[in-house]
Amino acid sequence: MSGFILETEGLTKEFRGFVAVKNVSLKVRRGSTHALIGPNGAGKTTCFNLLTKFLPPSAGRIVYNGRDITREKPSSIARLGLVRSFQISAVFPHLSVLENVRIALQRQRGFSFDFWRAEGVLAEYNDRAAELLEAVGLQEYVAHTAAELPYGRKRALELATTLALDPAMLLLDEPTAGMGHEDVGRIMELIGRVAKDRTVLMVEHNMTVVSTLAHTITVLARGEVLAEGDYATVSKNPDVIQAYMGTANA
């Protein structure tokens, strides 16, 4: 198997004439942590939506684990071990924090179409769910409704839910956005820990997080790849500085 778990060729997405992602060829090395950065509107989230099949590409190909997934359904992507989080925290607001994680753990049963069974059969996942919640520092909140959590904690819950699937590859869209300082530290530490034995592709604006965690950084601007390399290389690249300054002044 190739050293790259995920490869795209000429990935392009056009919205009624506006090209949000243009000819992106991305290679993510197996086991690495790869950051996708770029100014607002660069096309990072759109890229994620293409990779996880939430949007069909206008052109290009996506290969995951040696398999062409360009025409797969979004739900199949997760079953292949490629699981995403969302930029805007995605929890199940009226379920309890524990139930949120359990929904993901429940996937191990295959499909849950057994409407005649009591939900007590799900109790076997409670301990694992509690463990995952402890790992993200939510042990005090298990019985809360997800909607009651402050924003940063919702992000942590989302991460615990994603990790519950034990995916081979994680796609995290701004995992620390909207978090307080100490939460960022904890989540960063957690991502570092879970990234040891899997591949992580993340969109992140916090440069401390990026420089600490990422082995490789790809910079997107206006839908195109502007630069790629490690943090030291990328941060010195004049085009990258220009792209960021450009939007800062705009």
């Binding site: 995605a90 199940f92 309890s96 524990l98 409407f115 042990q139």
Partner: protein
């Protein structure tokens, strides 16, 4: 680091039957067993049939978030088929009801498959359009008896022994059907399947990204809902010995929405209370003639403005416990 206790897990998973629901259920069953000795059984049977219909409808809107505006199709088809089976084919009552239920279920598979690909208002419109097709089919098809409907359907004997011509016997048979349906729905929403349904209702994109196929779950729920609506319609046909165009008319679809909203959408007991309220109102206001609709409309508006969560929804909100 503090660890999660078993008690917290119990609280988080709502393990065991919630006390207030058990109490409410016991009160409901007690009242329903006693009721025929105080009230007119035929009226009560009407309430029970509509309560089951509303519970079936609520499974879809309350737990999947899908507003069907064509549930009369399943109710009405269940009614026609049961009436035809009992009268023309001479099937025993219980089999006639099962036949009506099964046909409604099959119709649910086809219509559900067509409708669930659409979201929100488009879903509602497609279900309405399909139900209108069923209405015109019922108007034209020879077996439905057109404007007359299927009249003087025999009530028959239950399992060949119990004479259902007695209103009291019929009542307890209908009560048994209602309770089975009610408990079945309770089980569905508290099953592993029900958990996934709620997740889809809450955040479909997230459920998809976790590997679930929302369409398959929605379709399953749709078919269950249609089947139970058919059971309600079939039972109604036997009780009133009549299947008619009223059962498949769009206003029947509207009525079940009204009942569920008044009682409390997404609550276990709400649809029952809603059905009781609306059927009682129609009965007592019948002397007002055409004004019934107007009065009903006003009450509906008052309900929506005053208690948005419906009667049971508001009570549950005060108690801070699910009902």
């Amino acid at each position: 680091m503090a660890t999660v206790t078993a008690g917290e897990i119990r609280a988080a998973t709502h393990e065991g039957l919630p006390r207030q629901q058990v109490v409410a259920f016991v009160i409901m069953v007690g009242a329903l067993v006693a009721a025929p000795f105080f009230f007119y059984p035929v009226f009560l049977m009407k309430v029970l049939c509509f309560a089951l219909f509303a519970c079936a409808f609520n499974l879809l809107i309350g737990y999947v978030g899908l507003l069907s505006f064509g549930h009369a199709a399943y109710f009405g088809m269940g009614s026609y088929v049961a009436a035809h089976a009992a009268k023309v084919w001479g099937l025993p009552t219980e089999l006639a009801i099962l036949a009506g239920t099964a046909v409604a279920g099959v119709l649910g598979v086809v219509f559900g498959w067509l409708a669930i690909k659409r979201q929100g208002i488009y879903f509602a419109m497609i279900t309405l359009a399909l139900a209108q097709m069923v209405f015109f089919f019922s108007l034209q098809a020879p077996f439905t008896g057109g404007e007359d409907g299927i009249q003087s359907v025999p009530r028959g004997h239950l399992f060949g022994v119990i004479d259902l011509r007695s209103d009291l016997a019929m009542y307890f048979f209908v009560l048994a059907i209602f309770l089975m349906g009610f408990l079945f729905i309770y089980r569905v929403i508290h099953s592993p399947f029900g958990q996934v349904l709620k997740a889809i209702r809450e955040n479909e994109a997230r459920a998809t990204s976790l590997g679930y196929r929302p369409d398959h779950y929605k379709l399953t729920a749709f078919v269950l809902s249609a089947t139970l609506a058919g059971l309600a319609g079939a039972t109604k046909a036997i009780v009133f010995q009549l299947a008619s165009l009223t059962d498949v008319h769009w206003s029947m679809s509207g009525e079940v929405v009204l009942m569920t909203l008044v009682g409390g959408l997404g609550t276990v007991f709400g649809p029952v209370v809603g059905a009781l309220t609306i059927v009682t109102m129609q009965n007592y206001l019948a002397s007002f003639g055409a004004w019934v609709t107007v009065i009903q409309g006003v009450i509906f508006i008052v309900c929506v403005m005053a208690f948005r969560r419906g009667v049971i929804g508001e009570i549950a909100n005060v108690l801070k416990k699910p009902l």
